[in-house]
């Protein structure tokens, strides 16, 4: 493509490829579009097999001109995977098994009637009629800006992206705006960085210094374990990131970009590669893009499993091919970044907002969200929640809405205890604050942080001290070792928590924990150390009683910390079968001389001084349930 006219011609020609999915009929080439989720979640449960079988059905019926099978990115409802949507009706099939395909194809595609027994139950009304997915609890409150193409287009097809206004924003920038105007639109929109820190994006771009060579870097390291927003964008809509980086390049005057992706995301890397190659072939990357004077190209760099490389300066050191250690700031990357040149570094989700802001205007974007947090935020809902998956909601939605309406509540009738945000750098929101409106500033005011979007839900079976310990183990592992407060200090914190969870803690330990946390926060070199104590501080603040229970009562209320557990046999329930004693590795179970009324054999008891708390006895007593742990 050498001009905007050619881009527009391709858009017109491609509209019919996707119109059906937007509810527009009459122009379509194919009568049915079958969309199969090819995100990491569904691919892991072998959705590829569904595609294979569907294609075979299409062939067997000679329906190649009527049915199109599309592999898409993530639909968001990962808990229901493997997922399949059939247009024009938009029927949502969940937990599809390979064995269902033949029946669905015969019934729905050949026969014209959706096969209701495989349709997601929440999309059926009382009379059994299929209603649109957008009317389910999961989707109703969502607003899709970043995820607008995820699950809607084939991520490996440039035509489908262009058909949904792809590369129009870049064309608009090149033909209508000066670089300074682009920066100012992004500033006015109020967009803040989605990578964790929430720094205003327009401001960041305006800081990029002058120089002969500048770079754009996209941070797709997504190190927070339990978060997969950025991955889903790359898998579902890779061209969007390419377009956004080109716009960023135009705005700050850079002609080269790097996407730094973690190596654990092979599907995302593959789709991004395919997209970059195609964009390059079509002249959307490279020299004189769309006939303008602007040139820009992109490369991918793979991470190799180091959390600290998500930190912007460490990330750049890693792209330079060195040990990914952070550098002191200033100088900031905008002045002296990658290879010593001025660099603008942004998160994937931040960038994914850019094309829409350019196309629909700063005011449109600024209308969504709260006073200081504009737009939407994508969260990866995980842990003890019914609808595990990906949600995009306007800033300011309450945690209650996220957990209980969109997320479908906590499974197995358990009670919601807390939500963990921001991963190893973040904190937690306790049940008492469930009405908090989620935005940058509200979260900070309760000692928490937005983080990149991992939202892990915990129920009464989660021990908060153990959780804090889990995150510290993570940071101890991931500390790069360059500065002492982080390398040594966090390890000391972990030792203290170990002590507490083993029932050897004292009340002085709590004071020392707090002192050490604050010391590490103030004295560490980079964000990793500065935020590492957050999970401890947050749990100390909201769940001090659990720490006290471990220290004073030597009990773990959630029944997680092994050393504090004790297993007991209810002597009146025990039928005396002896299965537990036979399987006990420590020979800690012996027969008593008590026989419960109505039982023939004497019951057993556990000798606490011999018990190693492995739990084997409880497993062996599943039928009778006479053994419990506390």
């Amino acid at each position: 493509m050498k001009s905007i006219e050619e881009l527009n011609a391709l858009r017109r020609a491609s509209r019919k490829l996707v119109a059906l999915r937007d509810g527009i009929t009459g122009t379509e080439t194919y009568k049915y579009h079958i969309m199969v989720c090819g995100g990491t979640g569904c691919t892991s449960s072998n959705s590829e097999k569904l595609i294979e079988l569907l294609k075979a059905e299409v062939e067997a019926h000679g329906m190649q001109d009527i049915v199109k099978v599309v592999r898409t990115g993530c639909f968001g409802l990962c808990a229901l995977g493997r997922i399949m949507i059939v247009y024009p009706e938009g029927v949502f099939y969940s937990r599809v098994e390979p064995e269902h395909i033949h029946e669905i194809f015969e019934g729905h595609i050949v026969g014209g009637n959706p096969v209701k027994k495989y349709v997601y139950s929440e999309t059926l009304d009382e009379d059994g009629n299929v209603k649109p997915l957008t009317e389910t609890d999961f989707y109703r409150k969502q607003v899709r800006v970043v995820l607008r193409n995820c699950g809607v287009i084939d991520p490996e097809s440039l035509e489908e992206y262009v058909a949904r206004d792809g590369y129009q924003a870049l064309a608009k920038c090149l033909s209508e705006y000066t670089p300074a105007q682009v920066v100012s639109i992004v500033s006015q929109s109020g967009l803040r960085g989605r990578g964790g820190a929430g720094f205003p994006t327009g401001k960041k771009w305006s800081f990029v210094a002058d120089g002969p060579k500048k770079y754009i870097v996209c941070n797709a390291d997504e190190g927070d374990p339990g978060a997969f927003m950025d991955r889903s964008v790359l898998e579902g809509d890779p061209h969007c990131i390419i377009e956004a980086m080109a716009i960023a390049g135009y705005a700050v005057g850079a002609d080269q970009g790097y996407v730094y992706v973690r190596a654990e995301y092979p599907i995302a890397v593959h789709r991004l590669r395919v997209a970059i190659d195609e964009a390059r072939r079509e002249g959307l990357l490279g020299r004189h893009i769309l006939g303008s004077d602007f040139s820009f190209d992109l490369d991918i760099r793979l991470g190799a499993g180091a959390f600290v490389c998500g930190e912007e300066t460490a990330l750049m050191t890693s792209i330079e091919g060195k040990r990914g250690e952070p550098r002191t700031r200033p100088p900031f990357p905008a002045v002296k970044g990658l290879f010593g040149c001025p660099t603008a570094e942004n998160n994937v989700e931040t960038l994914a907002n850019i094309p829409q802001i350019i196309l629909r205007g700063a005011d449109w974007f600024a209308e969504m969200g709260t006073e200081k947090s504009k737009g939407t935020k994508v969260f990866a809902l995980g842990g003890k929640i019914n609808h595990t998956g990906l949600v995009e909601i306007p800033m300011g939605t309450t945690l209650n809405e996220i957990v209980n309406e969109i997320g479908g509540g906590v499974p197995n009738g358990k009670k919601f205890k807390a939500a963990q945000t921001g991963g190893p750098s973040g904190g937690c929101i306790p049940a008492s604050l469930i009405d908090t409106q989620v935005d940058y500033d509200n979260l900070i005011s309760i000692g928490c942080m937005m983080g990149s979007g991992g939202l892990i839900i915990m129920d009464e079976d989660t021990c908060m001290v153990d959780m804090a310990k889990f995150f510290l183990e993570f940071t101890v592992d991931e500390s790069c070792g360059k500065c002492t407060p982080c390398r040594v200090g966090v390890r000391r914190l972990l030792e203290k928590l170990d002590k507490i969870t083993e029932g050897k803690g004292t009340l002085e330990d709590l004071d020392e924990l707090e002192y050490l946390c604050n010391y590490i926060k103030q004295n560490s070199l980079c964000g990793l150390g500065q935020t590492a104590p957050n999970p401890v501080l947050a749990t100390l603040r909201f769940f001090r009683d659990e720490y006290l229970a471990h220290i004073v009562n030597k009990k773990c209320p959630a029944g997680v910390c092994k050393a504090l557990l004790s297993y007991t046999i209810d002597k009146d329930k025990c039928i005396g079968c002896g299965l537990c004693a036979k399987n006990c590795p420590a020979e800690a179970i012996v027969r008593t001389d008590y026989t419960a009324p109505g039982h023939k054999l004497a019951s057993f008891e556990i000798l606490s001084e011999k018990c190693v708390k492995c739990g084997v006895c409880m497993d062996n007593c599943k039928k009778i349930k006479a053994i419990s742990k506390r």
Binding site: S44, G305, I319, G324
Partner: protein, 164 residues
């Protein structure tokens, strides 16, 4: 601490030629050391000292610097993996859903701890961070194939499938 393993190096001339070709073609790439080690690991499966030496020679980078890089990043392995590499996700979502018990069960079933290989070289066990399949938590991968929504009782069956 990562250590070089004492299992003898068994690289072939073809592997060496493939690596040297790649290195010669890409030696001018900015920040080439990381991609070079990634390529080398892709070819050999791990990074023994002999392989790092080839990279050092071709790129004219001091061995000490390469060693610094290969020991910094978790994904570089200095010792070979088992024929079947089992990796347990210990990301937050998986941890909350009981990944710890899955790891214990695997360790018990295979008789090895994390980061070890069975004496017959068949299985190795490791822990990894979120692989992005949190919707299926808890998950493990066996040579990249994902098993999700696991309970400890599923483990013996999965291992049996790979035993021979």
């Amino acid at each position: 601490m990562k250590k070089f393993s004492n299992i003898p190096f068994k690289g072939t001339p073809e592997q060496e030629a493939q690596l040297r070709d790649w290195l010669r073609q890409n030696r001018d790439m900015q920040g080439v050391a990381m991609p070079a080690l990634q390529k080398a690991q892709e070819i050999y499966g791990y990074l023994p000292i002999e392989v790092q030496q080839i990279v050092a020679d071709e790129l004219d980078i001091p061995m000490s610097e390469l060693y610094g890089i290969s020991t910094f990043y978790a994904q570089f392995s200095l010792s070979p993996k088992g024929e079947k590499d089992i990796s347990v996700c210990l990301g937050t979502a998986c941890y909350v859903k009981g990944a710890g018990a899955i790891m214990d069960e695997l360790s018990k079933e295979l008789g090895i701890e994390a980061d070890e290989c069975t004496p017959d070289g068949k299985f190795s066990l490791s822990a990894c961070r979120c692989i992005g399949a949190c919707g299926l938590a808890p998950v493990i991968t066996v040579n990249g194939e994902v098993y999700g929504r696991l309970v400890p009782e599923d483990i013996p069956g999965i291992i049996a499938k790979y035993r021979d």
